[in-house]
Chain length 168, copies 2
C-alpha cells in the first residue's frame, strides 16, 4: 500500500540543549528530566543514542522553547555533579523540519527521498528522530526554508499542505 | 489541560544497528538510507544526536526487524568507504517500549514519571526518541517486561491498555 505523505511542518521557535557525557547508568535520564519538569520546561524532541563502549557515556539532547533556555540551563547546572555529566551545549540557531505521513516504516524509500532532498538542497542534518508517522530533523535555522521547499517539491506537496501543518 | 496517556506498547521483534562515526557532512544520511531502501529494509526508529565538535562525527542508529539485519549490515559494509563511517554495531537483544499519549510536550512531568518508573525498576535506557504523542525507549530485551509493568503502574493503566497497543 502507498505511504501517505500529508505535509511538512517546521518550527523556528525552539533551541536545543545537549547534556554531554552522561554516564550510561540507570536513573540518569530520570534525574535530568525530573529536574526539567520541576522547572516547568516544556520539552519537545528528546534524542539519545547509544553510549560509547570506550567511555560508558552518551549525550542526551532535547529541544525546547528558546525562551525557556536560561531556566533550563540553570536547572541543569545545579545537578551537574549529581548526574556527573561533562558539559552542556546550547544552540538557539536551529530549526525543526518534519515530514508527516503514515505507513512510513514499511516505505524506507520515503526516508531516503526526504534525506536526499535535503542533501540536494545543501542542508546538513544535525539531529534525527523518527516515528512511523513523522520524520523529524534538526537543521540550521537559516536552512529551514530550503529544507521545507526541498521536501515540498520532492513529495509534490501543495503550499497549503506545507503551511497548514506549520506547528504540527 | 491534562495529558492523555493511552497506553504502553512494546516490541521485541527488532534489532538495532549503529553506524558509528559518520562524518557530519551534507548527504551522508541520504547515502545510508538510500542504500537501506534499495535493500528493501523496513526501518522503524532512527536516532541521530549532534556531532562531537572534536571529531566532526556522529552516530546514526536505527531499529529494524531482526530478520533483516544481515541484509542491512551487508548493504552498509559496501558503502563504508564511500560514507567513511568508522564501524557498525549490531545488537539483537533489544526491546522497544513506548508510552503513547497526547499533549505530552506541555506536560514534562509525564516524561519524568516514565523515566523515573523505568529507573525504579532498574531498567537502563539505551536510546530515546520522542514525539508529542509517543515517548520511545530502547532497553535490553530481558528488561522489557519490567519496563512495561513499571510504566503500566506509574500511569494507572489497565492491562488491556497495555496489551491493546502492543504493536502500536
Ligand atoms: C543515559 C541514560 O539514559 C541512562 N542510560 C539512564 O537510564 O538513565
Ligand atoms: C550525519 C549526517 O546526518 C549528516 N549531517 C547529513 O546531513 O547527512
Amino acid at each position: 500500500e502507498q505511504p501517505i505523505i500529508s505535509g511538512v511542518a517546521h518550527d523556528r521557535s525552539e533551541a536545543k540543549i545537549t547534556v554531554v557525557g552522561v554516564p550510561d547508568k540507570v536513573g540518569e535520564a530520570a534525574t535530568i528530566f525530573r529536574t526539567l519538569a520541576d522547572a516547568e520546561i516544556n520539552i519537545d524532541m528528546i534524542v539519545q543514542n547509544v553510549s560509547a563502549a570506550a567511555t560508558g557515556r552518551t549525550d542526551i539532547s532535547f529541544t525546547l522553547p528558546t525562551n525557556d533556555s536560561q531556566t533550563a540551563l540553570t536547572a541543569l547546572k545545579k545537578i551537574q555533579s549529581q548526574v556527573a555529566f561533562e558539559s552542556l551545549l546550547y544552540d538557539d540557531q536551529i530549526g525543526k523540519v518534519s515530514l508527516i505521513g503514515a505507513g512510513m516504516r514499511s516505505h524506507p524509500g520515503v526516508t531516503a527521498k526526504f534525506f536526499s532532498a535535503l542533501a540536494d538542497a545543501g542542508v546538513n542534518i544535525e539531529m534525527i528522530s523518527t516515528s512511523e508517522i513523522r520524520i523529524s530533523v534538526v537543521v540550521g535555522q537559516n536552512e529551514v526554508d530550503q529544507a521545507v521547499t526541498a521536501a515540498h517539491r520532492a513529495f509534490d506537496l501543495d503550499a497549503d499542505q506545507v503551511e497548514a501543518v506549520v506547528y504540527g
